[in-house]
């Protein structure tokens, strides 16, 4: 009975599909006649993965990118929620700031990334800022929407029992806006990884973006594949983190 349950829980179709993909990739790389630097075989990529894992480079560069992404998210989310809260509370402020906010969204981050790197140097700081900028807007918008959607009847309740402004913030506004806020964070997490890579591609001595570029220059396509693969893992990890937060804090939504 238990074994049956266990067997049922394994996603057989998913595993089969991965194996089929692996096989197809192997066959194509072997028989298509494409050179290795265009399409390495899965085995090449695997060897490259093991090698960079063993000599520590892979973990090092992944850690750098992860730090950039996390610091950037921290800065972006903090700033965005504070500004978003102020905007949600004041229509005047919204009118004053909205031209800048809309304009800032019209600038593709890729276009100003080189500028930021010139200003702040090729180190980690410029990447953190790019991540923060890219995370800022979705979290800001969701904060405004979330706070504005707090039911006015619940404000009445809080006022009727003489809640202070701080209590209203902590006990009403934050929990009420949290579902929408975490939605913003989910989008922001994925964007943040993109931000870090964009920054690293412009100029960097380390990080997965650097690894990508290095592989590119050296015609070491397997390395490029490994870096891309790590980026996917990174993005999924962040996504999973947000999902965990949602599980923990949004239990009441079922």
């Amino acid at each position: 009975m238990m074994i049956k349950n266990f067997l049922n829980r394994i996603p057989w179709l998913g595993i089969l599909s991965l194996i089929a993909g692996w096989l197809a990739w192997t066959l194509i790389s072997r028989f298509s006649g494409l050179p290795r630097f265009i399409l390495p075989s899965p085995n090449d990529v695997w060897l490259s993965f093991i090698k960079s894992l063993m000599n520590g480079t892979l973990l090092y560069h992944t850690a750098i990118t992860l730090i950039e992404v996390l610091l950037g998210m921290l800065a972006g989310v903090t700033f965005a929620t504070i500004v978003g809260y102020a905007l949600a509370k004041s229509r005047t402020l919204e009118k004053i700031l909205s031209p800048y906010l809309v304009a800032s969204q019209a600038i593709p981050i890729v276009a100003i990334a080189p500028l930021l790197v010139i200003w702040l140097g090729g180190g980690i700081l410029s990447k953190v800022l790019i991540c923060a900028l890219i995370v800022f807007f979705p979290v800001l918008v969701n904060t405004v929407v979330g706070i504005r959607a707090v039911p006015s009847a619940l404000y009445d309740l809080m006022h009727s029992i003489r809640a202070t402004r701080w209590q209203i913030l902590i006990k009403l506004e934050v929990p009420a806006a949290l579902p929408v806020l975490l939605g913003g964070l989910r989008v922001g997490a994925t964007l943040s990884v993109i931000g870090a890579i964009v920054g690293e591609l412009v100029n960097a001595q380390d990080g997965l973006g650097y690894l990508l570029q290095l592989g590119d220059f050296q015609y070491d396509t397997s390395m490029v594949y490994v870096a891309v693969f790590m980026l996917i893992v990174l993005a999924l990890m962040l996504y999973g983190m947000v999902t965990l937060l949602e599980r923990k804090f949004l239990k009441w939504q079922q």
């Binding site: 619940l154 009445d156 309740l157 006022h159 009727s160 029992i161 003489r162 009403l172 009441w252």
Partner: protein
């Protein structure tokens, strides 16, 4: 032995802004409330009953007129809203103890008190339920418990039993009478039900169609404690007829 009023309302009017000159919800309302009074407002939909409670709770300012509290001090209020108005992210227990949290009471003490209230409104076993799992009537009982828990001076009830079935509603009438008699609170309650107002109140104030004016101020001189039988007495019938005639 009439004590001095804890609340006086003088010539109160409320006009809500709208596109053609404003919507008058309440018009020249005056009345007083003495400590331990149980007052019911009875009136058709849209006559401004909720608006009046919101003014008393200091959630809304009147357009003209005054509202004065004894010693010019706004009393501690417990309010039950027309919709149960629970926080969906808090369990039954946590919703009920919210007012105590705001007062800074310790967690253990607050839980004990909340548990007492849960027993009182008959929700034992539902402490850890989410609001979405409750029926309308259960949610309303949570709201009643929440309004009582911090021992307010003034209880404002906006059709608190509207969503209850007849049997539960009458049980809640008895409970409310008991609570009121034991705790000596002042109660202002809004209702659509003539029976409910006569069963519970010392005084029934009838409001007219919009804009709400006080059309009748009826003293309910039925003996207390009141029980089910009182509804079949001739005096109850007379008062009920009087209210019905005023409303129509």
């Amino acid at each position: 032995m009439k004590s001095s009023p804890i609340l006086t309302v003088e010539n109160l009017s409320v006009v809500f802004p709208d596109n053609n000159g404003g919507l008058r919800a309440l018009d020249d309302i005056s009345f007083e409330v003495c400590p331990r009074d149980f007052i019911c407002f009875l009136g058709p939909s849209g006559s401004g009953k909720t608006t009046l409670l919101r003014i008393i709770a200091n959630l809304l300012r009147p357009t003209t007129g005054k509202i004065n509290f004894i010693r010019n001090q706004h009393p501690q209020i417990g309010m039950v809203f027309q919709q149960s108005n629970l926080m969906p992210w808090r369990t039954v227990m946590d919703n009920i103890k919210l007012p105590l949290e705001l007062e800074g009471m310790g967690e253990n003490k607050a839980r004990l008190k909340a548990q007492e209230m849960i027993e009182l409104v008959g929700l034992r076993g539902f402490e850890d339920s989410w609001p979405r799992e409750l029926s309308g009537g259960m949610a309303q009982r949570v709201a009643i418990a929440r309004a009582l828990i911090h021992d307010p001076d003034l209880l404002l009830l906006d059709e608190p039993f509207g969503s209850l079935d007849a049997i539960t509603r009458e049980r809640m009438w008895m409970e409310l009478s008991h609570i009121w008699q034991a705790s000596q609170k002042t109660v202002i309650m809004v209702t659509h039900s003539i029976n409910e107002s006569l069963f519970l109140a010392d005084r029934v104030l009838v409001l007219t169609q919009r804009p709400g004016k006080i059309k009748l101020d009826l003293k309910v001189d039925l003996p207390r404690p009141r029980n089910d039988d009182i509804r079949y007495t001739p005096h109850f019938g007379r008062l009920a007829r009087k209210l019905r005639e005023t409303i129509e």
